[in-house]
């Protein structure tokens, strides 16, 4: 790699780090910070969905409902037992992970579209439980007056302060996902997605890894739920309906299925886009639907594939992209389909 590209990359990375670190001070108002906080929560959800769907090929379309499981676990532990956020976060991950394992059980019998339908159904079951178990969950009224966290006596009671918790969880979530997918666990996931029978013959314990993919994605949904509950202090079942899964799926597909950077791009873009689209109300759904169709038809790898294509087309030469002779080597690694 050329020295110049290294410097440019370092500058870009440093600039991005500075913006991330001081974002609450750069933002024009509290509402912008809130949107970015929500985007962070969506990035965590999208990372989980991407791991299960994009890498392991396991259609976990109960993601929104599992997000709800995490939020209700944290919310109820806080309002009923007075437990703090720091205990509720791991607790929400564990509870959601366990429910995720159950949601994943059908994956041992059915796959692809059929699995998608079964997990949608199981998600609906979870949602119906949230609405109807009024004694436990407060029914359609939801759970209110969840307390915001406290960091060693320092109250994290504003969006600006909560931003840093979300930032840390998003960064940790990204690094952990990357680490899991980089080595043999990630390869087993991809083997199952590419060719289930061949994976078995290569000694991959397919049942174990399928359930594992569900548990990990559900645990991410649980973490996102705990963050959501303690940030908004109020949760209700309608937030976790199937439309939330669709929203997460849209951002993951637009960003790039099978690419963690895609989850970050999609997770940042869609919640912001949603704010601008508020004026057109329900027509938003049409925009999401059309964007999914465009992605599926023209760029199955999402925005991330688009940037790679642009870089390879040589028409647009970004300052940080490698020189043509290095490019040739990279091109051979890029999938044709």
């Amino acid at each position: 790699m050329r020295k110049k590209t290294i410097i440019i990359r370092a500058l870009l990375f440093g600039g991005a780090a500075l913006i991330l670190l001081f974002f609450p001070y750069i933002a024009q108002n509290r509402y912008q910070v809130h949107i970015i906080n929500m985007a962070g929560i969506y990035i965590i959800l999208s990372l989980g969905l991407n791991l299960a769907m994009g890498y392991a090929g396991q259609f976990n379309l109960a993601m929104g409902a599992l997000w709800g499981v995490g939020a209700y676990t944290a919310g109820l532990l806080n309002t009923r037992l007075g437990l703090p956020f720091w205990i509720n976060l791991p607790a929400a991950m564990i509870v959601a992970g366990l429910i995720g394992a159950i949601v994943g059980l059908p994956s041992l019998k059915v796959r692809s579209h059929y699995l998608a339908i079964v997990t949608i159904g199981l998600g609906e079951v979870i949602n119906i439980i949230l609405i109807n178990e009024e004694k436990l969950t407060g029914g359609a009224l939801g759970v209110s007056r969840i307390k915001m966290p406290n960091f060693f006596g320092f109250p994290i009671n504003t969006d600006e302060r909560f931003y840093y918790i979300i930032l840390v969880v998003v960064i940790l979530g990204f690094l952990v996902t990357r680490q899991i997918l980089k080595h043999h666990i990630g390869r087993s996931f991809r083997a199952i997605r590419d060719d289930y029978q061949a994976a078995k013959a290569m000694g991959v314990n397919t049942a174990y890894y399928q359930i594992l993919a569900f548990i990990i994605s559900a645990a991410y949904a649980g973490a996102a739920g705990a963050l959501f509950a303690h940030l908004n202090t109020y949760i209700s079942p309608d937030i976790f309906e199937f439309k939330s899964t669709l929203f997460v799926m849209t951002m993951t597909m637009v960003g790039g299925m099978g690419s963690l950077a895609g989850s970050v791009v999609g997770g940042l873009t869609l919640p912001i886009l949603q704010e601008y689209l508020r004026v057109i109300k329900d027509w938003q759904l049409v925009v999401y639907g059309i964007s999914i169709m465009i992605v599926v038809l023209f760029v199955p790898g999402g925005v991330i594939e688009l940037t790679r294509r642009m870089r390879n087309s040589r028409k647009i030469h970004w300052p940080w992209s490698p020189k043509p002779e290095e490019e040739k080597l990279e091109e051979t690694n890029v999938s044709e389909n």
Binding site: Q179, R190, D194, D195, Q197, A198, M202, G203, V204, T332
Partner: protein, 253 residues
């Protein structure tokens, strides 16, 4: 006895694909399995690798009955296989394909992978070194970082064999490894199979290329309509009237 297939029967509804077949495979030999199309060769492979549970009979490997184990445990017990129609992992590089075969030797579980990246990377480096050895043996190391499915057909076949060897098998089941290869590639395959035999791995070979089969197999079993009709050395088989009839039909009609 190394691998013992005892009275194996495989029935799909009304169709009996494999009927009461017994085969003994000795350690270290290249054992050919031949027969006309539909004679049950691939079905036997699928039973051996755990995709089908046999309708009758059993398979004993190294003194243990393996016919009721799930596929991945059969692989762990020392079975590896290739597929008649190539089944490489299409999104992965050649190296990653081979590394998948080594995954079940990994000592690092989920927690260690997350919490101790250094140990995982160390293990990974050992795997990569071993994988490169297999790629060298199969003479496809030059393609290590290329997308597996972008390779020429013959090379893809060899990557499949490398991937199977990576699971560290005692016996390897090759399903028509010479199918679609030209003569030069087939000759190369023959050399590779001898090399594999020399490393101590037993080979069970299904193949239609008679020149290859006759040339390298120590013992050949002939199947027809799911039944074993003959067994012996290449010379004995090729003069057996029952075998000739199965392949060419009856003599005077």
């Amino acid at each position: 006895m190394f691998l013992k297939i005892e009275n194996l029967k495989m029935q799909f509804g009304g169709l009996i694909a494999v009927n009461d077949v017994s085969i003994n495979v000795e350690k270290g030999e290249i054992h050919g399995l031949i027969g006309p199309n539909g004679s049950g060769k691939t079905t036997i492979f699928n039973v051996l690798s755990g995709y089908y549970k046999p309708s009758g009979g059993k398979i004993v490997f190294d003194g243990k009955t393996i016919s009721n184990l799930p596929a991945y445990q059969i692989t762990a017990a020392g079975f590896a296989r290739t597929f008649q129609n190539l089944r490489l992992f299409s999104s992965m590089t050649v190296l990653d394909n081979v590394l998948v075969g080594m995954g079940h030797h990994a000592k690092t579980g989920l927690w260690k992978t997350i919490l101790n990246p250094v140990a995982v990377q160390r293990e990974e480096n050992i795997f990569i070194e071993k994988a490169m050895n297999f790629l060298n043996l199969l003479e496809v190391a030059d393609f290590a970082n290329e997308l597996a499915t972008s390779l020429p057909y013959g090379s893809q076949r060899r990557v499949e064999i490398a991937r199977a060897l990576a699971t560290d098998p005692q016996i390897i089941l090759l399903d028509e490894p010479a199918a679609g290869l030209n003569e030069i590639e087939t000759e190369k395959l023959r050399e590779i199979l001898m090399k594999i035999q020399n490393t101590g791995v037993t080979i069970l070979l299904v193949e239609h290329d008679m020149k290859l089969v006759m040339g390298i197999c120590d013992v050949i079993t002939v199947l027809d309509y799911g039944k074993k009709i003959a067994e012996g050395t290449g010379a004995a088989i090729s003069n057996d009237p029952v075998v000739i009839e199965a392949y060419l039909g009856q003599e005077d009609l």
